[in-house]
Symmetry: C2
DNA sequence: CAGTATCCTGCAGGATACTG
DNA sequence: CAGTATCCTGCAGGATACTG
């Protein structure tokens, strides 16, 4: 599943006369998934669900600051990519549980490894920032 | 360097009367670095420089689709965070070389590990998408 | 409870022009 | 070559209201 990960790489429209054809749609599909995973709400949702599955409103509380709209949208994207499993019980009031799929857990682990590294090394980052700002002031 | 990673978590302004004080500035600083690293241009720049350091315009060619403005902005953010080292030679025409710092390489490796996983497992993602779209159509 | 539907706006980031 | 400065616009995403 290797392909150009470059974002703007627009494969030239070699079939002529298809001006309306969305060349971006042909861009590497893994980029979209990566954006779902690393985006602000996606990464927070993934790490929250990595701890344990839960219901919609509980998730809203765990992912502090997320709106209903964005959480719903994020969950749909992650479910569509096969990272999140949604299980709705047909009861009243409705009860819907979300949890990560095995793939979702695997992705969350790599993501947490990256996050962990950055957090560990924040002292270095912070002093680099001071040095950088000092050079300009 | 552990702290709440939740994005909207706004520590309540406990010191009264500082309405103008930017509470967001107190949010976890690692989140900003994470966004520089995982953002569209940040991730592309990091992986490009991980292969080898290079000059500005060479980098522009490697990171296909990036504008001068965004590449410049991205490099400043990564340099400020201590992930990229910038070395300018005072010659004419100017020559500036960019390369990753040791921290930059460490971060790039974890990032590439995440990207690699997602690319490996794209067949699963793609079939999950088909299933999801099928359920709705 | 678990969402969807609308409206609206700030700002990321593209296009373009200019510079040491 | 290696950038900076301006202008401008699409759209991510917040606020608000509504629903099965």
């Amino acid at each position: 599943m290797e392909c150009e990960r470059t974002a703007g790489s627009r494969p030239r429209a070699d079939a002529a006369g298809d001006a309306a054809f969305d060349v971006f749609a042909r861009a590497c599909p893994s980029r979209a998934t990566l954006e779902h995973v690393t985006g602000k709400w996606g990464s927070l949702t993934l790490t929250a669900l990595h701890e344990s599955g839960c219901r919609f409103n509980e998730l809203r509380r765990r992912v502090d600051g997320v709106s209903e709209k964005m959480l719903s949208q994020t969950l749909h994207a992650l479910e569509r990519d096969g990272l999140v499993h949604r299980e709705a019980q047909l009861v009243n009031p409705p009860r819907v549980d979300y949890r990560l799929t095995p793939l979702g857990h695997a992705v969350a682990e790599r993501l947490l490894s990256l996050i962990g590294l950055v957090e560990e090394r924040m002292p270095e980052v912070l002093s680099a920032r001071e040095a950088y700002d000092g050079r300009r002031a």
